[in-house]
């Protein structure tokens, strides 16, 4: 059994380390510092931690003001409240103003579990991906969380990063380096590409192992940098395998499935299946039961892979029409 780490915990610990390294880093929370794990930072750097109470709109505005004053603010709360309640504050001030604010939101996806649909953000990536200037990240494991958190602190501009509640298997080691706009190839394979984000990256690897038992070789990508997305890797993989499955703990609309669909539809229309929630909210239950209910298991990905592979037979050879990725807008 592989070691497990929770992305929110690794975020919190890394933030506390960064606090010691860079005095410009300040942290804000909205009464959830124990859950988001910003309490690690808060304990050590009392004068640089600001709890604004249960007031997410004020959280984002205050973070914006601190960024304008030259600080590097990390603002944390649950993904649902950060991107839902405070979407317009993020849009009007942080994204429109292109401010150096890092929004790191925990409790993304249905694996929040028992708290139910009100607390399970399954649309946060969509809400952030639509915003100009915003970088959108969702780490797959502990090492990637640490790398992305450190990267975000060093990058100048708005960043949204989603963390999860549960401990998840460790995929990378600490030599992993995160690069903006780059995905990573985790497994070679010529029959189908499985493209995952967040906790679904491990599920894609598990699905690839299942497919291998049937003699099917799946290529597996981690696309934890959702915006800007690694166009070249997506297109190259689609062209090589001519069959694609995306997997996300999120709606299939607006997140990774949409982003990949948009690229493939315009440039390389390979057979595609999207694994994720379909026009529905979450609900209470054990995380494992919910993943099964919403079709987010390795077996679901395996079945989807079979379907896209079957569609390949009727498909014309796929030219790659344009490999140029769009630049981040920037202001």
């Amino acid at each position: 059994m592989a070691a497990k780490e929770s992305t929110r915990v690794e975020y919190g610990k890394t933030l506390a380390q960064l606090g010691a390294e860079n005095p410009q880093i300040v942290v804000l929370d909205a009464d959830l510092s124990g859950s988001t794990q910003t309490h690690h930072f808060a304990k050590i750097f009392k004068d640089r931690f600001f709890n604004v109470g249960i007031a997410e709109q004020d959280l984002m505005g205050t973070a914006a003001g601190l960024a304008l004053g030259g600080k590097i603010p990390f603002a944390s709360t649950f993904a649902m409240f950060a991107t839902g309640r405070a979407w317009e504050q993020i849009r009007q001030t942080i994204a429109y103003g292109n401010l150096n604010v890092k929004i790191v939101a925990s409790h993304g996806g249905v694996t929040v579990g028992e708290d139910g649909g009100s607390h399970q953000a399954v649309e946060d990536l969509a809400l952030m991906r639509i915003l100009p200037n915003m970088v959108v990240l969702a780490p797959a494991d502990g090492p990637e969380t640490r790398a992305m958190t450190r990267w975000a602190a060093a990058y100048h501009g708005p960043v949204y990063m989603r963390t999860g509640r549960l401990a998840v298997p460790v995929i990378y080691d600490d030599t992993y380096v995160f690069e903006l706009g780059r995905g990573s190839l985790l497994r070679e394979g010529g029959d189908v590409t499985l493209m995952g984000i967040g906790i679904m990256v491990q599920t894609c690897l598990d699905a690839a192992a299942l497919l291998a038992q049937d003699g099917i070789e799946a290529r597996v990508l981690n696309l934890g940098c959702l915006k800007p997305l690694d166009w070249e890797l997506v297109l190259d993989s689609a062209r090589r395998t001519e069959a694609v499955v995306t997997a996300e703990e999120h709606m299939v609309t607006g997140g990774l499935g949409s982003a990949v669909s948009e690229i493939l539809a315009e440039h390389c229309p390979a057979p595609l299946k999207r694994i994720g929630l379909r026009d529905t909210f979450g609900m209470s239950g054990k995380p494992e039961a919910l993943l099964k209910h919403y079709g987010l298991t390795a077996d679901d990905i395996k079945q989807a892979a079979y379907k896209v592979i079957a569609r390949k037979a009727n498909h014309l050879a796929l030219p790659v029409m344009d490999l140029k990725a769009p630049k981040m807008a920037g202001r």
Partner: protein
């Protein structure tokens, strides 16, 4: 400064007439407040808009942009000819303030209720940085109907932000009518006091009272200050004063001529 305010009002009328749209009433009600702040109180450098020790200003009621732009131009942040491009394609003067376009503007505003939180963050940053900067935020009176204002009111008091001064442009009108009819905000001074703010009330068209209030706020320690500035929407032009219809419309040619006459303008565009 009264003379500057008169000229700023002329600029506002001129800009809106040229643009064919914009927020007249709330620009004219806020003019004396802005002039007192920028010409009599704040430490800024037009030639160095990012000067670290500057005092900061946020126009939380972003629709007052014409008045803000006219003041910034007079201070030399950008050429005054730019004023006549207000709201046009490619202009550095957007319909609502945009820091990405306009020198001197700190942050985009226009969606109401958000500026005070940003001001709080700036005040916290100034404190952490050991800067003596003071932070000023101008709020509309209809704007305080937004819930986020009261979140920010709590935060400012909780963190004892005595380097923060909010000014309320109490012109008593919003788009749909009188604030008392649309959504009553009274007793507004008591509300701010109850939230822990040092609260003063002044005539928002009396430059002397405004300057005295800014000075008085400097002596307050451990809590933020709110200056409720009683104003008249459309101030300075009789046909605009107290008329809700001029919240968000430009003057027609007859109104434009009358306004320039009442404001004592020499004919023609701003020189």
């Amino acid at each position: 400064m009264q003379e500057i305010a008169r000229q700023v009002r002329i600029d506002i009328v001129e800009m809106l007439f040229r643009a064919g749209s914009g927020h007249l009433g709330g620009s004219l009600s806020a003019t004396d407040i802005l002039v007192a702040l920028f010409f009599g109180e704040m430490r800024t450098k037009a030639g160095d808009p990012c000067w670290l020790d500057r005092d900061r200003f946020i126009l939380s009621k972003g629709h007052g942009a014409p008045a803000y732009y006219a003041v910034l131009a007079r201070l030399g942040y950008f050429p005054r000819e730019e004023l006549l491009t207000l709201r046009q394609f490619g202009s550095i003067l957007q319909g609502h303030p945009d820091s990405g376009c306009t020198p001197g503007v700190e942050i985009p505003t226009g969606s109401l209720g958000q500026g005070l939180s940003i001001a709080n963050g700036m005040a916290l940053a100034a404190r952490l940085n050991g800067h003596a900067s003071r932070i000023y935020a101008l709020l509309g009176d209809g704007e305080v109907q937004e819930g986020q204002i009261w979140e920010a009111a709590m935060t400012a008091a909780h963190y004892g932000l005595d380097n923060l001064v909010a000014i309320l442009d109490r012109n008593r009108l919003q788009i749909d009518g009188h604030t008392a009819e649309v959504m009553s905000i009274e007793p507004i001074a008591d509300k701010w006091k109850a939230f822990g703010w040092h609260t003063l009330e002044v005539d928002g068209h009396d430059i002397g009272q405004l300057l005295a209030a800014f000075q008085a706020c400097k002596g307050v320690k451990g809590r933020p200050s709110m200056i409720i500035a009683h104003t008249v929407k459309g101030k300075g032009v009789s046909i605009f004063e107290g008329q809700k219809k001029y919240h968000g419309v430009a003057p027609n040619p007859e109104e434009y001529q009358q306004a320039l006459q009442e404001l004592g303008a020499v004919t023609g565009p701003p020189a």
